[in-house]
């Protein structure tokens, strides 16, 4: 098993690149839902796959049921750098609130449809923003509903993640005048991380 580690400068650089990408996605989401979105500092860490679930800090209550939408992303230029899984985690109790932003009782779309749209905006804008800063381009699979009323453990401990270590980028979006928030989590496996670190080192060399 290779041990990946980030230096403080590399972590700081990745956090700032994520911060800019997070802001772009937050702006797109705010325009879509017509609500102000509060942003917090992105959390960057390298974790073993078995620890992914327990490493997520912003999930409101670990035991509460969540709704999870996922999308895979690939490097469109065929490089190993920057590929992995992106997921958006919503508390089950707050999911309806989000749909309410998109219309009144008669015209509002189905909750599932709303969550897929919101997830797609967050994932594509944020990751494209990150990719642009890392001088690469991405392609995406269609968003899929991974599970409803499940726990986060179910998502990450199902044996789906087949790598040793992963770079975890966690971004929280909270919607103003509600207690509703969602988490965008980007999970990138070992080989993807090595390419990202190489690019981050190039950026850091400019300083």
């Amino acid at each position: 098993m290779t041990t990946l580690e980030l230096t403080e400068d590399q972590r700081d650089c990745l956090q700032e690149l994520s911060n800019i990408a997070m802001g772009q996605a937050g702006d797109s989401l705010a325009r879509f839902l017509e609500v102000f979105v509060h942003l917090s500092v992105p959390k960057i860490q390298i974790v073993q796959t078995s620890q992914v679930s327990s490493s997520l800090k912003n999930i409101s209550e670990p035991g509460l049921p969540v709704i999870v939408v996922g999308q895979s992303f690939y490097n469109a230029q065929g490089q190993k750098s920057l590929h992995g899984e992106a997921i958006v985690i919503y508390s089950e109790s707050g999911a309806d609130t989000l749909s309410n932003f998109l219309g009144d009782d008669e015209s509002k779309p189905e909750t599932d449809e709303s969550l897929m749209d919101i997830s797609n905006i967050l994932i594509s804008v944020c990751l494209n923003g990150l990719a642009e800063q890392l001088d690469t381009r991405l392609s995406f699979s269609a968003p899929t509903m991974i599970g409803k009323g499940i726990s986060c453990n179910d998502v990450f401990n199902s044996g789906k993640l087949s790598w040793d270590n992963a770079l975890l980028i966690e971004i929280n979006y909270t919607f103003e005048s509600t207690e509703m928030s969602c988490n965008l989590v980007l999970i990138m496996p070992d080989e993807s991380v090595e390419g990202i670190i190489a690019k981050v080192n190039e950026i850091l060399d400019e300083f």
Partner: protein, 144 residues
């Protein structure tokens, strides 16, 4: 076009009655949790701008520096641990601290800008910072 030259601008020199003071370097604070971002802002400053730069890595440190007079001019990030940029702006207002704040943030929602201006920020610049844009804003307000 700049209406004021750097010794006459209404933002930084309102209490400046001494000629000696007018030629002193402006205490400038760069408050951002990211080390890379602090360096980027510092590197984007006009090369011949006479400033004495102090760095702070969160809102609490930033406020302390402003209270100590190290931030007559402040470049302020919004999303920070301990105390965010909105909290810093609120405290500056409440405590009546004399400083000019330009927010430099990745939170590009139009409402984020409005909130900052309402809380007393002079201007809002989007990240990633554009050197020309920063110089243009500084000139526009007669700060440089």
């Amino acid at each position: 076009m700049s209406v004021y030259n750097s010794n006459q601008n209404p933002y930084l020199s309102s209490n400046n009655t001494s000629d000696v003071q007018s030629f002193m370097a402006i205490p400038l604070l760069i408050c951002d949790d990211s080390s890379m971002s602090r360096k980027m802002v510092n590197r984007s400053l006009p090369k011949d701008w006479d400033v004495e730069v102090t760095f702070a890595k969160n809102g609490v440190e930033g406020l302390e520096a402003i209270r100590k007079g190290q931030g007559e001019m402040v470049f302020l990030d919004l999303t920070m641990p301990e105390l965010d940029g909105y909290g810093v702006l609120e405290s500056i207002k409440q405590e009546g601290l004399k400083c000019v704040v330009i927010v430099i943030s990745a939170d590009i929602q139009p409402e984020a800008r409005e909130k900052c201006i309402k809380l007393g920020a002079l201007e809002f610049i989007k990240k990633p910072i554009d050197t020309e844009k920063l110089t243009q804003v500084l000139k526009e307000y007669g700060l440089y």
